[in-house]
């Protein structure tokens, strides 16, 4: 696989690189295996044997952070897994993997979406922007700089999703898209703290850095009403 210019992960053949995560996964599997027989017997009695299905591969072409990428993927691969596991763009995070936390938020064709709830093969020709594509350590996107300045995180796991979401959210406001708390549907909504909180509700921060996240967005938006 070609080296992506945005890729900041350690390089080397996957097979020979034993990551901390792989060790953790291996440990989990062996621990679970010890408790498996009883469970397996119960499950075997209660349910039909799992049907075997052949893996289906499909090609997809994406533009990721400005670079054309061509992938041959198991059709089950979500956009999130394509970015992380195939393109090694691990800035986008897997939180709940069910569209409930927003950690996987990326910008596709200008719109923020949960990359965990969409298949990569559904995005033939799409333009995808991840946290790696918004800015670089040397040239941060204004939203990235504002999150640093206002300490808009604690552990940082939700941060790439928060930042991608915030950038696209401000574009939604510019485009005149109303929200649940917009008082008058027939006029443009003013960006207030209440508006930002509602519009960012799809991004959960378990550390509770919300007030600082709000300050960061406030600065980039040029002041909230």
């Amino acid at each position: 696989m070609d080296k992506d210019p945005n890729d900041t992960t350690p390089q080397g053949p996957l097979e020979t690189r034993v990551s901390r995560r792989k060790v953790l996964i291996a440990g989990t599997v062996s621990a679970a295996a010890g408790a498996l027989p009883a469970v397996a017997t119960l499950a075997g009695e209660a349910t039909a044997p799992t049907e075997a299905r052949a893996v289906v591969m499909s090609k997809v072409n994406l533009e990721v952070n400005g670079a054309a990428r061509s992938l041959d993927l198991d059709t089950r691969t979500t956009l999130l897994d394509a970015l992380r596991e195939h393109l090694r763009l691990t800035g986008t995070k897997k939180g709940c993997d069910h569209g409930q936390c927003g950690a996987c938020t990326v910008i596709v064709d200008g719109r923020r979406i949960n990359s965990c709830l969409t298949l990569a093969v559904m995005h033939e020709g799409s333009r995808v922007t991840t946290i790696e594509g918004l800015g670089t350590p040397e040239r941060l996107h204004p939203m990235q700089a504002a999150f640093v300045k206002h300490d808009g995180y604690q552990c940082g796991y939700c941060t790439p999703g928060q930042i991608c979401s915030a950038v696209a959210m401000l574009d939604e406001v510019k485009a005149g898209i109303p929200s649940h708390v917009t008082a008058d549907l027939t006029s443009r909504s003013k960006l207030s703290a209440v508006e930002v909180r509602e519009r960012m509700s799809g991004n959960i921060c378990r550390c509770g850095a919300y007030s600082n996240i709000l300050d960061a967005i406030d600065e980039v938006a040029g002041g909230l009403a």
Binding site: R53, A54, R76, N114, L119, H180
Partner: protein, 318 residues
């Protein structure tokens, strides 16, 4: 997730034919509900037909002054549409009260209508659920049933339909347009799209195999004060405990539908007729024959209070 074959359809008729041809095939549009369920092996399609490239993504005029909403119009775009905001504000309000910005950017009009219940026992494959595994029983009865339905329920199922959008479409008398695998089209009043659970809660709607929703049409605007009020456990990004969609005219007449209380958007003619008499009469008519559990009995008084709040917001006595 179980493996599946994948194809992109180019036209609505081609999509319908493709799903009819393959046993175990399903349409995929936004995918925000289907993929969630596939990851849990609750949905296990063998073949997905991607309908995102078939058009049907525009909002335009319908006959007799109405509005035609393409099946693939995203929830964000429908909520933000200027005509919808001006003439059908209850629909914008309902859409904006649902899900998150990210989900609304992907979720489609037709997909929203056909989304599955969020009953915790439907989601937990270790539990009995007649909707997920017909004949296995209903663990929600006697289980954690705070979110479950109180009207139109059966001994087999007390699940709710989770959509906000559909409740607004019900109060607007929307029509659902479809095309079948043979290319035949039909128009289904939204009242007839979703089924009550009865003995077959796994059969949730009246569409045939391979029948594809192509559009939802709204009749010409009816004016009035249009309100969608949703009561939930969080201020944002949560499903309704109860919700009320209402259109109230100056003389106090109008229409009302509820979400969060039944297996389908809930509307009763007698409740529409009772609107001028206030919340107590409306709630009695809407919830006539209600069957609650220990956990969700609170929904009856909550429904009446929510209706009262809506009437006050509409400038009427509660």
């Amino acid at each position: 997730m179980k493996a599946f074959a994948y194809e992109r359809a180019r036209t609505p008729a081609e999509a319908a034919a493709a799903v009819a041809r393959e046993p175990g095939a399903k349409f995929i549009a936004g995918g925000t509900n289907l993929l969630d369920l596939m990851k849990l092996d609750i949905e296990t399609p063998t073949h997905l037909v991607d309908v995102n490239g078939i058009g049907l993504d525009e909002i335009g005029k319908a006959e007799e002054g109405g509005l035609r909403i393409g099946a693939l119009v995203r929830n964000t775009d429908l909520a933000a549409d200027k005509t919808v905001r001006r003439d059908y504000p209850v629909l914008s309000r309902a859409l904006l009260s649902g899900a998150s910005g990210q989900l609304r950017n992907r979720a489609t009009t037709a997909g929203n209508l056909l989304q599955r219940t969020r009953c915790p026992y439907f989601y937990d494959t270790d539990q009995a659920c007649n909707k997920r595994l017909p004949g296995s029983g209903c663990a929600a009865l006697g289980g954690f049933s705070r979110h479950n339905a109180i009207v139109g329920v059966s001994d087999a199922c007390i699940a709710t339909h989770p959509s906000d959008m559909a409740v607004a479409m019900r109060v607007l008398d929307a029509i659902v347009e479809t095309v079948d695998p043979q290319g035949n089209t039909r128009a289904i009043p939204i009242a007839d799209l979703h089924r009550l659970p009865g003995e077959t809660p796994h059969i949730e709607h009246t569409l045939k195999a391979g029948e594809l929703i192509t559009a939802v049409t709204l009749p010409k605007p009816v004016g009035g004060r249009q309100i969608y009020r949703k009561v939930r456990d969080r201020a944002s990004y949560a499903f309704a405990l109860v919700s009320v969609a209402a259109i109230v005219q100056r003389d106090g007449s109008g229409r009302i539908a509820m979400g969060g209380v039944a297996h389908k958007p809930w509307r009763v003619d007698a409740a529409d007729a009772a609107l001028p008499q206030g919340a107590s009469a409306v709630a009695s008519a809407l919830l006539s024959g209600a069957r609650t559990t220990h956990d969700n009995a609170f929904k009856k008084p909550l429904a009446e209070r929510t209706i009262a709040a809506v009437l006050v917001e509409a400038g009427r006595p509660a």
